[in-house]
Symmetry: C2
Subunit: 225 residues, 2 copies
DNA sequence: CTTCCACAATGAGAAGCTTCATTGATGTTG
DNA sequence: CAACATCAATGAAGCTTCTCATTGTGGAAG
C-alpha cells in the first residue's frame, strides 16, 4: 500500500509519515504543489493525504488537477478546522474523506484504511501466495491444500506478513499492529521473537521453506515463491 | 453515552441501533423530523446520527434547528453517496462528520467514538468510582489507595464495566468489546464466565464488595457505592 | 411444588502467551 | 582482526487465557 503525504509543515509531515510507516504503508511525501504533482505523475498511490492549506495556496489546484486527470488515487483531505470552505470544495471536487486538524494519528490511520478498503471493496477474502492460502473469513490457513493450525497470535502475525509480502516490516510495526494499545507503556516487545520462532517452525514443518527472513536492525521480510 | 439515530429506513435503523447497543451506547431512534425534534428537546445526546435524506425532506431542517438552538450534541451525518450538496451543506451547518452510504457498522462505530472523544477532549484519564480508581494512562487500578493487580483481560473487563456503570451489559457486548474480530466465527464466549469469576474474586478480596451483579438472561450490571 | 431447561458459576487442567537468562549472529570501532 | 555493542534466536519456566466437565441457580410450565 503506497501513500503520498502532501503537507508543508515539516514536523507534522514527518510524524504522519513515521506513524503510517509503522502501520505498514509505504510513504512518499511532498511539501508543496510542484513536488506533489511530480510524484503523482510518476506513481499511482492507494491514497493521497492532502493538506488543503498549503503555503503556496495550491492545495486545491492539486486536487483539481488530480481529479481532472482521471487519477484513481483515493484522496483524504487534511484541513484546519476553520477552513470550512476549502474542505467543502474539496469534497465537491471528489475527495473521499476529510479529517479536521487536530487529529490523533490513530484516527488518521483508520480513515486511510477505510478509504482503501472502500476502494477495494471487490473484497476477496482468500489470500493466495504460492502454496499458501489464507481464508480471512474462516480464519484458516492451508499449505498445499493441507490445513495448518495456528494460534491466534501466529495467525495475526502471518496475516500481517502476507499483507506486507516482500516488504521489510519492523518489530515495532508488527507489535503496534498485533497489540495496538493493549500493552502498558513499558513497550518491550521482545516476545515477538518467540512468536516469529513458532510461526517459522510451523511454516517449515508444513513445507513452506524459509519464508520469514530477518533483516538485521530493520525487522523481517516475508517472501514466498 | 446516549445516542439518537434518525433514520427512516426501518431495517437500516434497526441494524444500526442493535450494533451500537452492542457497542455499549444507549440508543434512541426516530424515523422522521417530528419525532427527532421531540427527542432532542427532551434529552441531551452525546451524538446524533442523522440521515440527511429523510423521506419527509426535513433532515436538513432538523440540523439547522439543532444548531440554531445552541444544542451541544455532536452530529454525524449519514448520507447517500450521490447527495453531495446536502452533505456539504450539512458540514457548513456545523455537523461534526459525515459518513457516506454504504458503510460498515464498525466504521460507523469508529466515527461515533471519534466524535465523542473529540468533544470530551478535556480528557480526564482517571476514573473514580467510590473507593475504586482506574488510571487509564498507567493502566493501574487502586482500591482505597491500595494497588490492585489485574491481568490484561481483567483490566479490560473492569474498564468496560466502569464505562457502563449501572447499566446492564450483555455477554455478547462484552465479548465484542474485549475481543473484537480477533476470534473465529465460532463465537462461543463462555470463557467470559471465568474472567467474571476472577475479577469478582479480586474485587471482593480488595474490599469492594459485591459489585458485579448477574442479571439472568440479560448479562451483568456493575454498580459500586 | 416439582420438574425441567436454559443460564451461570466453578475448579481443574490444557493451551497459549510472555518473561527470562543464555547463546549466537551481525555489524562497528579502534 | 579483536573487542565490543547491538540485535536476534532459543529453550525453559511462569503466568494468563481458554476449554471442559460438572455443579448450581432462576424462571417457566405443568
Amino acid at each position: 500500500m503506497k501513500l503520498l503525504i502532501v503537507e508543508d509543515e515539516k514536523i507534522l509531515c514527518d510524524s504522519i509519515v513515521s506513524y503510517l510507516k509503522q502501520e505498514n504503508y509505504t510513504c512518499d511525501s511532498a511539501n508543496g504543489y510542484a513536488s506533489a504533482l511530480e510524484k503523482t505523475e510518476q506513481y499511482d498511490y492507494d491514497c493521497i493525504l492532502l493538506d488543503i492549506n498549503l503555503q503556496d495556496g495550491n492545495g486545491m489546484n492539486l486536487l483539481r488537477e488530480l481529479k481532472s486527470n482521471n487519477k484513481t488515487d483515493g484522496v483524504l483531505i487534511i484541513s484546519a478546522r476553520n477552513s470550512l470552505e476549502d474542505k467543502v470544495a474539496g469534497l465537491q471536487l471528489g475527495a473521499d474523506d476529510y479529517l479536521p486538524k487536530p487529529f490523533h494519528l490513530s484516527e488518521l490511520g483508520a480513515r486511510v484504511s477505510a478509504i482503501i478498503r472502500r476502494r477495494n471493496s471487490a473484497g476477496n477474502n482468500i489470500i493466495r501466495l504460492a502454496e499458501l492460502s489464507i481464508d480471512t473469513q474462516a480464519r484458516s490457513v492451508e499449505v498445499a491444500g493441507r490445513l495448518l493450525e495456528l494460534t491466534r497470535k501466529e495467525y495475526q502475525l502471518l496475516l500481517y506478513f502476507a499483507y506486507n509480502k516482500g516488504r521489510v516490516v519492523s518489530k515495532n510495526a508488527i507489535a503496534e499492529h498485533l497489540w495496538g494499545d493493549e500493552m502498558g507503556d513499558a513497550a518491550n516487545y521482545d516476545f515477538i521473537y518467540t512468536h516469529i520462532k513458532n510461526l517459522r517452525r510451523k511454516l517449515i514443518e508444513a513445507g513452506c521453506g524459509d519464508t520469514i527472513q530477518s533483516v538485521y536492525g530493520m525487522g523481517y521480510k516475508f517472501s514466498i515463491s
